[in-house]
C-alpha cells in the first residue's frame, strides 16, 4: 500500500458518501458525453441515451468494480454488512437469542477449560528469567530394574522406548541421596533445589484447617527468586536441624486463613503436630506446579516429622527436583554435568554384592522448567483436561452444526432476497461475505457472552480440580476465546452462505418462496444425523457414569465402613516410649468405651500400596496388579472380614521362611484358578526373590472405591520393623462416632501427649470423598448430554420448518384434495424419522468406541449395555419427535387457498 493508496482509503473511510457521489457523477458524465456524441452523429434524442447506456454496459457492476479497484469496498462494505446484519438479527429476536445462548454455552465452556489449561501448563513461572528453570526426571531401562526405586511418592510411568522398544520406567520423584549429590555438586552451572507437596492439617487459634503444604530445600526460594509480599523467604540457614522451624505461606493462605493481617509474620502455628513460625508471604502469582502454590512451605529438614513419615525415608523416592541454570548455559550442559553424580549416587545405594549391568543404571533427564514443574505422565490434571475437552469440544461442534442448520432453514426464506441481489449483479463472493459477516457478528456476540460465562464457568470447574488453582484471565485466554468464536462463526456460517447463494437468480425471483424443486437438503440431513449421533454418545456416557455410581452405592464392600474409624500415626520413634509405643496405644484404645476392636495395618485406605503378583514360577501370565496390606493378626476380625480357608497369622510367623501371606478370594481366583491355594506360593515376578506361601484365604473386601476395577488383595504380617515409619489404625466402634473418637484421642494423649494422630476419619467418609468426584463427573456428562439433546431438538425444529416451507403448496394441494391431518403428518415426519434412526445407529456405534474415554471412570458397567442403549434411544426419539411434531402440526393447518396462491 503506497502513500496515495493510504490517503485515498482514509478519505473513503471517513467520507464514504462523497466518494460514492463522485463516482456516480463521473460515470453519469461519461454517459452524457456519449449521448452528446450520438446526437451529433444524428441519432434521435431517446436513442442517443439508450445507445450510450448499451455501449457502456452494466453501470452498477462497473461502479462496483471501481470500488473494488479503489480498495475501499472492504472497509465500506464491512460497515454496511454489519449494519445489515444487525438489522437481520433484530428482525428475528428469538433466533438471535437462542443462537447467542447456545454459542455462549459452547464457547464459554471451552474458554473456561482453556483457562484451567493455561494456568496448569501454558503460563510461565512468575519469577525473573523463568527460561533458566530446568526440571528433572529419571529413566531406568528394564522390566524390573533392581536400581530403579521400589517405591515412589508421586507418579511413575512404565512404558517402552519409542525407537528401541525397550521397556523403561520413569518418574520425577527422586531419593534423598541422589538429590543431595546433585545439590552439593560443585562446578555445575546450576543451582539444584527440591520440593515435595503433601496435605496437612494446621491448627490456628485452636481450629484445625486442611491445607496444602510442601517441604522445600533451603535454596528453593533463592533459586526461584520469587520475592515476598511480606516478611522474608525461607533461606538455606532455615534448612538446618538446629534452626528454629520456620514456614512461609502463600498469599492466598495469608488472605484466607489470616485475613492478610501483617502481624501474621512471626506467628506460631501447629502444622501436622509441629510448631512452626511464619516468617514470610509469597506472592499469589507464583506457582510452580499446575497453577498451584501450596499454602505452607517448610524447610526440608523437618520433612520426616511434618509429613508423618511419608518423606525422608531412604527407600521411598519422594522429592521433586528442579534447578536454575546459569545464564547462557544449555539444558543439555546441565544434564551432562549432573549425569555422573546422579548415577554414582544411585549405584552407592545398592549393596555391592549385586550384579549390575551398565544399561540398568538409571539416567537423569533434564528438560525446560520455564512453565513450571510438570508431573510425568501428566497426572490427574491431564486426564481431567482430556476428558473434559472431549465433552466440551463435542458441545461446541453441536452448537455449530445446530446453528448451521437453522441458518440453512432461514436461508430458504431469504432465497428471494438473495436471488434478487444476484440478479441485480451482486457477485456471489460479495453475498457470501455478507452472510458470513452476519454469522460472524452472531458468533462475536456469542463469544462475548461466552467470555462472561467462562468467567463464571471456571468457578464451576473448580470442584473438579484437586486443589485451588489460580485462574486468572490473560491475553492468551482472551485470544483463545476470540479464536474459537471466530472459528465457530466460520464453521456454522460458511455452508449456509454457500448454499444460499447457489440458487439461480431467475428461478429464485420467479418462485418467490418455496415450492417446486425439492430442497437440496443433503447437508442439513447429514448435520441432523451427526447431531443425533453426538447426543447419543454423550447421553450413553452419562447413563454409564450414573449406573457406575449406582453400582458403587450398592456394592457390598465386605465390611461396614460407617463404624470403622481409621487414622495414621507417625513413626514410633517420635514418641519417648520408642518402639513399644504402638503396642501400648493399641491396648489403651481397646479399653476406650465404644471400641469393639482395634488393629493396625500399613497401606490401609486412603493410602494404597500396589504390587504385581503371580503364581510362583509362572512365567507365562502377566502379573496381576494387587493391593498389599501389612496387617496385625487382629485386622480381619476388626474389619469384619473372615477366613474362608486356612489359618490367620500367629505368633512366630514373622520368622517363618518363606514369608506367609493371606490372600483374598479374588486373588485366589486369579492366581490359582480351580486349585486349593493353601500351601501354594506366589512371588512378584522373575526379578524379585521374595516368595510368599499362602496360609489362608479371606473373604473379599473392597478397598479400591472409585477405581474402575477391584484389585486382588494379599495380606502380609505387619512386623515392628515395618512400623518404623508409622502405621494406620483401624478401630471398630459402636455408638456416637464423635465421642468415641474423642475417647481415642485422650487415651493416646495419656500415653504420650505429643504423639499426634493424623487424618482421623471413618472409612465411610474416605469412600464418600472418592465417590463425590465420580458423582460430579456423571453430573457434568448428564448436563452436557441434556444440553446436546436440547440443541439437537432446536436444530431439528429448524430443519422441519424448512422442509415444510418448501412444500407448502404441495401440502395445500393435498389438503385441498382431501388428505387427512394424519396423512399430512406422516408425510412430513417420515423423512426426518429416518434421519433420527440413522443418527441413533451411528451414535451407538460411535459410543462403543468413545466410551473408552470414560472407561477409567466407570465401575461394574459393561460398556455395551442393551438396556442403557434402549433407554437412551427412547429418550432421544421422544424429544426429536416432539421437536419435529411442533412445526409438522403447522403443516396440517395449511390453508389450501393461501398455499396455492403463493405461486
Amino acid at each position: 500500500m503506497n502513500r496515495h493508496d493510504f490517503w485515498l482509503r482514509l478519505r473513503a473511510l471517513f467520507l464514504p458518501r462523497r466518494g460514492e457521489a463522485e463516482l456516480d457523477e463521473e460515470l453519469q458524465f461519461h454517459l452524457e458525453m456519449e449521448a452528446r456524441k450520438n446526437r451529433a452523429l444524428g441519432v434521435a434524442e431517446n436513442d442517443a441515451k439508450r445507445q450510450a447506456s448499451l455501449r457502456f454496459g452494466n453501470l452498477t457492476a462497473i461502479a462496483e468494480q471501481c470500488r473494488d479497484e479503489r480498495g475501499i469496498r472492504l472497509i465500506d462494505n464491512l460497515g454496511r454488512d454489519l449494519r445489515y446484519g444487525c438489522r437481520q438479527l433484530r428482525r428475528t429476536p428469538i433466533f438471535t437469542l437462542m443462537s447467542i445462548l447456545s454459542l455462549a454455552l459452547g464457547v464459554g465452556a471451552n474458554t473456561a477449560l482453556f483457562a484451567v489449561f493455561d494456568a496448569a501448563y501454558l503460563r510461565k513461572v512468575a519469577v525473573p528469567q523463568p527460561d533458566d528453570l530446568v526440571s528433572f526426571q529419571w529413566k531406568a531401562f528394564g522390566e524390573s530394574n533392581p536400581l530403579a526405586p521400589r517405591r515412589i511418592y508421586g507418579s511413575r510411568i512404565s512404558t517402552s522406548d519409542e525407537k528401541s522398544g525397550k521397556p523403561y520406567s520413569a518418574s520425577t520423584s527422586f531419593g534423598m541421596q541422589p538429590f543431595e549429590a546433585l545439590r552439593k555438586a560443585a562446578d555445575v552451572p546450576a543451582e539444584v533445589f527440591g520440593f515435595a507437596s503433601f496435605q496437612a492439617s494446621v491448627d490456628i487459634d485452636g481450629w484445625p484447617h486442611d491445607v496444602s503444604a510442601q517441604v522445600v530445600s533451603g535454596n528453593y526460594f533463592q533459586a526461584l527468586r520469587t520475592g515476598t509480599v511480606a516478611g522474608r523467604p525461607l533461606e538455606p540457614s532455615d534448612d538446618t536441624p538446629v534452626a528454629a522451624p520456620a514456614a512461609v505461606i502463600s498469599e492466598f493462605a495469608w488472605r484466607d486463613l489470616f485475613a492478610s493481617d501483617p502481624s501474621t509474620i512471626g506467628r506460631n502455628v501447629v502444622l501436622n503436630g509441629v510448631s512452626i513460625t511464619i516468617v514470610g508471604v509469597i506472592p499469589a502469582e507464583f506457582q510452580l506446579e499446575g497453577g498451584i502454590l501450596p499454602a505452607f512451605s517448610v524447610p526440608m529438614t523437618h520433612a520426616s516429622r511434618i509429613s508423618q513419615g511419608t518423606f525422608g525415608r531412604t527407600e521411598v523416592w519422594w522429592l521433586q527436583v528442579m534447578a536454575r541454570k546459569a545464564p547462557g548455559t544449555t539444558i543439555t550442559q546441565v544434564e551432562n554435568s549432573l549425569q555422573g553424580l546422579f548415577e554414582g549416587s544411585v549405584l552407592a545405594l545398592r549393596p555391592s554384592s549385586e550384579q549390575i549391568r551398565p544399561e540398568q543404571i538409571p539416567r537423569l533427564v533434564a528438560f525446560s522448567g520455564s512453565r513450571g514443574f510438570v508431573r510425568i505422565g501428566g497426572g490427574r490434571m491431564a486426564d481431567f483436561l482430556l476428558t473434559v475437552a472431549t465433552v466440551f469440544g463435542f458441545l461446541l461442534l453441536i452448537v455449530c452444526l445446530n446453528l448451521a442448520n437453522l441458518l440453512i432453514a432461514r436461508g430458504s426464506s431469504r432465497e428471494y432476497e438473495v436471488g434478487m441481489r444476484l440478479a441485480l449483479g451482486a457477485s456471489r463472493f460479495r453475498l457470501v461475505r455478507q452472510l458470513l459477516t452476519e454469522s460472524l457478528l452472531l458468533s462475536s456476540l456469542g463469544g462475548v457472552a461466552g467470555a462472561l460465562m467462562a468467567f463464571w464457568g471456571k468457578e464451576l470447574l473448580k470442584p473438579y480440580l484437586d486443589q485451588q488453582i489460580a485462574l486468572t484471565m490473560s491475553w492468551r485466554i482472551l485470544a483463545f476465546n476470540i479464536l474459537i468464536a471466530t472459528a465457530a462463526g466460520l464453521l456454522f456460517g460458511l455452508a449456509p452462505a454457500l448454499r444460499a447463494t447457489q440458487s439461480i437468480p431467475i428461478e429464485a425471483t420467479r418462485r418467490k418462496s418455496g415450492s417446486g424443486a425439492q430442497p437440496r437438503a443433503l447437508v442439513s440431513k447429514s448435520l441432523v444425523v451427526i447431531q443425533v449421533a453426538m447426543s447419543v454418545v454423550l447421553l450413553v456416557g452419562a447413563a454409564l457414569l450414573v449406573q457406575s455410581n449406582d453400582n458403587w452405592k450398592r456394592l457390598d464392600l465386605g465390611f461396614k465402613p460407617e463404624t470403622l474409624v481409621t487414622f495414621d500415626t507417625p513413626r514410633p520413634s517420635a514418641s519417648r516410649l520408642g518402639a513399644g509405643t504402638l503396642a501400648v496405644i493399641t491396648e489403651r484404645i481397646r479399653g476406650v468405651p465404644g471400641v469393639l476392636g482395634v488393629s493396625t495395618a500399613i497401606c490401609f485406605p486412603p493410602s494404597s500400596c500396589g504390587q504385581g503378583i503371580r503364581s510362583r514360577g509362572d512365567d507365562t501370565t502377566r502379573l496381576a496388579g494387587a493391593r498389599q496390606l501389612d496387617i496385625a493378626p487382629t485386622f480381619l476380625a476388626t474389619l469384619g472380614s473372615s477366613l474362608i480357608a486356612g489359618r490367620n497369622f500367629r505368633a512366630g510367623d514373622e520368622t517363618v521362611v518363606p514369608d506367609v501371606a493371606i490372600i483374598d478370594e479374588n486373588a485366589a481366583r486369579r492366581l490359582f484358578p480351580g486349585e486349593n491355594p493353601l500351601g501354594k506360593q506366589f512371588d512378584f515376578g522373575a526379578d524379585s526373590d521374595q516368595v510368599f506361601e499362602v496360609i489362608g484365604v479371606a473373604k473379599s473386601v473392597v478397598f479400591d472405591v472409585g477405581r474402575p476395577e477391584i484389585r486382588p488383595v494379599f495380606y502380609t504380617l505387619e512386623t515392628s520393623a515395618k512400623q518404623v515409619d508409622g502405621t494406620g489404625f483401624v478401630v471398630r466402634i459402636a455408638g456416637d462416632t464423635e465421642s468415641v473418637i474423642r475417647g481415642i484421642r485422650s487415651a493416646v494423649a495419656e500415653v504420650d501427649p505429643s504423639f499426634p494422630l493424623f487424618n482421623v476419619t471413618t472409612v465411610r467418609q474416605i469412600i464418600e470423598r472418592h465417590l463425590s468426584q465420580q458423582r460430579q463427573l456423571s453430573l457434568t456428562w448428564t448436563f452436557f448430554g441434556a444440553s446436546a439433546l436440547l440443541l439437537t431438538a432446536i436444530g431439528l425444529y429448524g430443519l422441519m420448518a424448512y422442509i415444510i416451507s418448501r412444500r407448502v403448496s404441495e401440502i395445500g394441494l393435498r389438503i385441498a384434495l382431501g388428505a387427512s391431518s394424519l396423512s399430512i403428518l406422516r408425510l412430513v415426519m417420515r423423512q426426518i424419522s429416518r434421519l433420527v434412526l440413522i443418527g441413533l445407529v451411528i451414535g451407538f456405534v460411535a459410543s462403543l468406541a468413545l466410551n473408552q474415554v470414560i472407561r477409567a471412570y466407570v465401575f461394574g458397567v459393561d460398556l455395551f449395555e442393551l438396556p442403557t442403549f434402549i433407554g437412551v434411544a427412547l429418550v432421544v426419539a421422544a424429544i426429536t419427535t416432539l421437536a419435529c411434531y411442533l412445526p409438522a402440526r403447522k403443516a396440517t393447518r395449511v390453508d389450501p387457498v393461501t398455499a396455492l396462491r403463493c405461486d
Binding site: 460515470l27 454496459g57 479503489r70
Partner: protein, 111 residues
C-alpha cells in the same frame, strides 16, 4: 469487409495507453476513450466497462491523479493527470513495449 475490424485490447496494454494519452495534458474518462479510439483510427476499441476501474486503479497506484474541473459541457468532470511517478512508469513501459513489439515483429517476419 468494408468496416475495419476492431481489435480487443491486449491484456495489460490499457494502462499503457491511458498513461500515453495523458502525457501532454489532463483529460476526463470519456475523452481518454475517445482519444484512444480516434488515434488508433477505430482499430482499438476501449471497453468502457474496464476503463473506469483501470483509471481508479492507476490513481491508487499513484501514477495519475484526479481533479474536478469544468468540462466542455459546462459541468463538473473528473480530469486525470500524470503524476511524476506516472511519467516515469510511462517511459519504462514504453521502452518495454518497444522492445517486445520489435522482438515479436522479428519473429513474425522470419523468412
Amino acid at each position: 469487409m468494408t468496416a475495419k475490424r476492431t481489435i480487443d485490447l491486449l491484456q495489460g496494454t490499457l494502462d499503457l495507453l491511458i498513461l500515453r494519452t495523458l502525457q501532454d495534458e489532463g483529460k476526463h474518462g470519456w475523452d481518454i476513450a475517445e482519444r484512444i479510439e480516434q488515434t488508433s483510427e477505430h482499430v482499438l476499441e476501449v471497453n468502457q466497462g474496464s476503463l473506469y476501474p483501470a483509471l481508479h486503479r492507476l490513481e491508487h497506484q499513484g501514477l495519475i491523479k484526479a481533479e474536478w474541473g469544468i468540462s466542455e459541457l459546462g459541468r463538473r468532470a473528473r480530469f486525470y493527470q500524470l503524476t511524476p511517478s506516472g511519467r516515469k512508469q510511462l517511459t519504462a513501459e514504453f521502452e518495454d513495449w518497444q522492445r517486445m513489439s520489435a522482438a515479436i515483429n522479428r519473429i513474425l517476419k522470419m523468412a
